[in-house]
Symmetry: D2
Subunit: 352 residues, 4 copies
């Protein structure tokens, strides 16, 4: 089964392809009508075929993993799925060579260097790059993305949080600028590295919170929320680990005032997301769930009101590996390259 | 394998034995050193052997399901696992006959008739019984339970909530009397009735919230919390359904003041629960999880502080079918009957 | 999101669209480049939107379910996913009207009426249709399928069995004409109907065999195997139910002679399936598994030899809903209509 | 919660306590009425509390892991859960000191040294010990176990196979002395060691065979079967890995003759196992499954006949960690020490 590449296709490459985000990028890019996947790299598995690591790729993608230099040399657009701190120099080099760079890691997600230092224990290395990097949340920043050379692909929890909160923070004058986000994720969010806690026998049937106010996605959510609320927003963000492989559901609690109208807010959501292909605002009697978005690039949002004590509850569900990572990265590429925004992303979720 | 019953053993019976709470009661009572299970009933399956419904019971308990009258006639202590509204007349009859009655349903859990009417659409039928019924949370009300003839066995979510909140509400002067409880439960909480949402193929890999401010456990949690906080406590309680069979984890958010000390509060928890066999207060660097309590009568509680925005986060985990239902019912019986509080409840949880 | 249909696209419809095979057909056909899904029907849910039954389809397919007559009237090619016995009259009517008919049920799968009577307790109703129907296993019968108007889409277990056995039965002179097939399937194989055994709490963690020599796929496997072995083949076929939603793995045992060479046989498999896009013959040190084919139209086959007692063991894995049902149905349509055989079927399986 | 130990209790210890078999032994022995767990050891975790490795044990067993020497010195009966080859010298030392030794590993399971050499690449080290070791399958060898000082606790698959096959091999004159055993196990069978294949995200939803005629349990099954069939029995044994934590189901195929009567054989099974507490022979219309034995020491056996081609199919299900390992080890101790055979083993399985 040859992968056909016409002259006109964009050459793309993946650095850090052996991880789970790399796996998802390969799945998407192999079927993408406008691109040709020309090189993939992995420090740990250089020389191995990707289908040896992932037998699901047999006969579909049997490319060999190479090194970063070769990806940089051969691709016109580079996706990088690396631990934080490793993308900055690569992005610098790629942009020097006139190439496009989409970082699926954390190096360019935060606006404030002080936040990066506080949560990642590191300063910005190439400061000028941070002024060029665009936060790649297409539903909010499509016009900036269209002009970008360098994309900071959002974190998985912040994607669900920001999409879920945006119209509410725009429209409501919140009595309190504090939001509680009780988040739940599948285990692919923690990646491919082995741990006792994720050994099958010990995780099946288990569920637990794993970070309390210190998760690195906290400042990312706060920066985004504060930007569009135009006031300082603080979030209490507590992630939990589900016994499933894919999917995130954020349950978000906002105290609202006496004059709150759920119907009005729902209309604002419907209006704002009307033309956004991948966001589905559910009807008021429905509730977001993980299965209807798993294995797709959709984000489902549902709104609820606890009249008893005036809490607005916003639920936002995504597939952490697609809309929360690799799917969104490709959506960003599509916009940057003026492809159809949905190209390669027409995954239809399944009920089972 | 005969079930041996000496003269001295207490005769106990189960009304509504075919449901999941009945199943768990049978598992516990069959091995209980002080009782003899003499009769079990089910309206839907009268005449069938319980081991036909539950093949796990083959050769362990092959009793036939009979009717309520026979259970009432033969048992000296009756457990009832019935939909709300059906226990009141049975409890009335049992107490008239000088018997003990432990209701695993909701008929006697609420103190305020107005709450019962609002959430269950029904008035109290035998009002005098409600003055006699004791709320069966042994860690808080053991002395009342010791005198009781009629026990209202707490709901599963309220058990985890109340045990998790009690020392905090006692000790802290909360700036806000509002608590957010983001709760997650395994599917046995919804019982044995079939539904599309719980069809295996559709629930595996899924996760979602299922009630927004209207769950019947809300007033129960509020009544308990308000009683020991000595002020009106409101909770925003949102339950979610996990793709596991057993277990509840409540993540509870309380805004605290500037002078809050997590260490002090932790000491209070340690002190209060020191002699309570089934409650384990975790160390400050640990977090509650479902697996370490599943298949046991333990409740694990962990305390966390998000210093960023001054939230105390309390996690409480139980097995919804044991400490959250049938295990607690037997613990109540043990106290009422002056048995060892842990008799029949020495289930040791497993890591896998 | 409108579904665009050009004049040139083939109008297709689905009768029995509310079941799991219908669900899968909708997922495939909605993205299929050559067809337009014009009508879907369901006896039980007529008038409802399919996205009310399956919220994953929100904004992707919001068509309303209609009746069979409308599907027959509007579509040029009809897929039917119905209990056995219901497709024959519909196929008769469709063919009278010059339309194509692909039956995902069992009505036309068996060649021998006596087998149909023995296993389905029914005679052939429209006997002449049975001479026209082509058994839709594309890897073996593509040339017949290309000419067909009426397709009997194979059963899920027979698909895995037949693809796994074909080269072996062709090449080997089997000492014994008996084959043991120990089969394992995910629960979607049993469909959408509710049962206690498939209630989530009772099936998670469970596994069991469910039929012993009487499963209706037995004669189907035997007819196929006997046809290409050119002798009478008997199979002892025992299916088991896995606690997963999708996927089949058949482990098949054949006694072989002294002169058996695994390498030679492997070469025959490689040669035979070389040009068959959806069949992957694994290397001799690899083993078929469910995850690498789940959510795709692939069939993975691995060959093993127990030298100890001269058994050839063939493992064949498919997704029961795709290659085992709806995916194969579309593959058949593609061949009949002279579309690219893989059109609409480019699902890439995932490692997680 | 103090563990009370009277003077009269037997002092027992566990070598290799940090693994999964050790975990299960701790669960059982902590509640066992006749023993006192006095020391547990682990090479990798010496000095750590067992409840640090397994938080489920908090407040139930907070013993510290020590070294082998201390266990040997303090215990009168030693359980060893070690990789093969490591138990022989320990058993030698223990017996010299007049102590009892129960080996949960493979060192003493095989009668024939040639088999041990072929499958474990090692010779017997203390040959005289092998004449003293008793194969600890209580339902067959209780009288020998009663006299034993050294027990070879059977493998998990051989336990299910041997219990399932015994009456059939005794009674039937098998036309063929070949048996196919298609076995399926939960992942605890592979222990606590981490692997990519058992990383939660990659194993959930997966299923596959993992060994073809070379599994080390093959000669153990054959030795047992041949012993009581009184002819040379060969088995084709293929194990598969299920996406569950606990449980084994063996599906076993035996070709039978024309005069075979399933009813007669069933009567033989019923008769033979009548007094064996932990073996349940199901009725002829029932089938063994994993859930009804999981978390218990039971073995369920069901018999089936495929009249079509004269195969007897025997299904045997156990919990691999209890009846297949640690539960059986304690059952052996109970018999050796003249305790009640079921002491500490009264786990009642659950339907969910």
């Amino acid at each position: 089964m040859a992968i056909m590449t016409s002259q006109a296709k964009l050459s793309v490459g993946i650095i850090g392809a052996s991880g789970y985000t790399g796996h998802e990028l390969i799945r998407i890019l192999t079927n993408h009508p406008e691109v040709s996947l020309c090189a993939i790299s992995s420090r740990s598995y250089e020389g191995k075929k990707i289908s040896e690591l992932y037998p699901n790729f047999r006969s579909i993608c049997d490319m060999s993993l190479t090194n970063q230099e070769e990806v940089l040399a051969r691709a016109d657009l580079i996706f990088a799925g690396l631990p934080h701190g490793l993308s900055e120099p690569l992005a610098h080099e790629a942009l020097l060579q006139g190439k496009y760079f989409i970082d699926l890691g954390a190096d360019f997600r935060l606006q404030e260097e002080s936040h990066y230092l506080a949560y990642y224990k590191k300063n910005f290395e190439y400061k000028e790059l941070h002024t060029k990097a665009v936060y790649g949340l297409p539903e909010l920043y499509a016009s900036d993305i269209r002009q970008a050379k360098l994309i900071a692909n959002p974190g998985c929890f912040p994607t669900a949080a920001t999409l879920g909160l945006y119209p509410a923070l725009q429209k409501l004058k919140l009595k309190s600028a504090e939001i509680i986000i009780d988040a739940k994720t599948g285990t692919t969010g923690a990646g491919r590295s082995l741990s006792q806690a994720q050994h099958f026998a010990e995780h099946t049937g288990n569920f637990y919170p794993y970070s309390f106010g210190t998760h690195r996605h906290t400042p990312e959510i706060e920066e985004q929320a504060s930007a569009f609320a135009q006031e300082q927003i603080q979030v209490c963000f507590i992630p939990h680990l589900l016994p499933i492989s894919r999917g995130i559901l954020n349950t978000m609690y906002l105290k609202v005032g006496e004059d709150f109208s759920l119907e009005d807010l729902h209309s604002s959501y419907k209006a704002f997301y009307q033309d956004k292909h991948f966001v589905r605002v559910l009807d008021l009697d429905e509730r977001a769930a993980i299965a209807p978005v798993a294995n797709s690039n959709y984000c489902d949002i549902s709104l609820h009101f606890d009249a008893h004590n005036k809490y607005l509850i916003i639920c936002a569900a995504i597939d952490n590996m697609l809309k929360g990572s690799s799917g969104q990265a490709v959506q960003n590429m599509n916009i940057m390259m003026n492809f159809d925004e949905t190209a390669g992303l027409d995954f239809i979720p399944s009920a089972f």
